[in-house]
Assembly symmetry: C2
């Protein structure tokens, strides 16, 4: 299948928001960033995140008429082990375009971007039941640090964050 991967522009925020909403629905997550959040936070002087868009030619558009059919959504992070790193918040390919190498191409693009910026790790979250995702990432040489090292992700949000942060 013909497709291309390119860095996103502000005009891609509408499709990024749509794909994030699709992901959120799949994970039964209510809250999700909006197009406005993305436009503001991703296209300012020090952008909070970056993303790549996977696109197909018009003649291969999705059944709903979309040509932007996948994305990798990431930001630069920092590790006491690896120093400069990348956190991959999401990598997504629309259902009807899976199994065609789009996810692999997106992941590779993020790795290339990372290596070019001196990053030595890409880290991300995978939910325990998402076996196809683990299969894909293991095939790329990734390690499950929760299994290997016992790393747990802990979060302070909502009322706890407000209470601490406003006191």
């Amino acid at each position: 299948m013909e497709f291309s991967i390119r860095p996103a522009t502000r005009d891609d925020c509408k499709d990024l928001a749509r794909m994030l909403r699709e992901l959120a629905d799949y994970h039964e997550i209510t809250e999700c960033v909006t197009q406005t959040d993305l436009e503001q936070d991703g296209f300012r002087e020090n952008p909070c995140f970056h993303f790549f868009i996977a696109e197909v030619p018009e003649q291969h558009k999705s059944k709903d008429g979309y040509t932007k059919i996948g994305m990798a959504f990431y930001y630069f992070s920092y590790s006491m082990i690896y120093s400069r790193s990348i956190s991959l918040e999401n990598l997504y390919v629309m259902d009807e375009f899976r199994g065609k190498g789009v996810g692999k191409a997106l992941f590779k693009k993020v790795a290339q971007e990372g290596v070019a910026a001196g990053c030595r790790e890409i880290s991300f979250i995978v939910i325990h039941w998402n076996k196809p995702a683990f299969g894909f990432y293991f095939s790329q040489g990734c390690q499950d640090m929760t299994i290997e090292k016992g790393y747990h992700l802990v979060s302070c949000s909502g009322a706890a964050m407000e209470r601490l942060g406003r006191s």
Copy 2:
């Protein structure tokens, strides 16, 4: 015990490197960022991270003569749920100064910084056997997302990162 918390300056990188090395030793991690990495990456135009330093007056210095006795090492991140967020890479208080509220004060400072910057989550990694750390974070209202939601941390580094990123 008298102590103060303040944003770090470049001059604090030596003590940050020392405390990160102490943490790495505790976790039996070989590799660790150096003072030079920290000076370069934390004090440039778009810093890769930020940190707070906890300090005691000269008369309460550690048995090895240190007055910088704790730190919170973080960077700004982005979440599809919460939008702007903070990733807390490490929070550390030297052994002999624990149980005196320094960790709590550092964590609160990070939360205040986060709320002021419009962040709605602080996330971080805790290793499964570190029961005192879980106890502390739960007392602050945090949730273990690995237990609650089955989130696993996956990492692409070393040879896998090189292979993907340079191809």
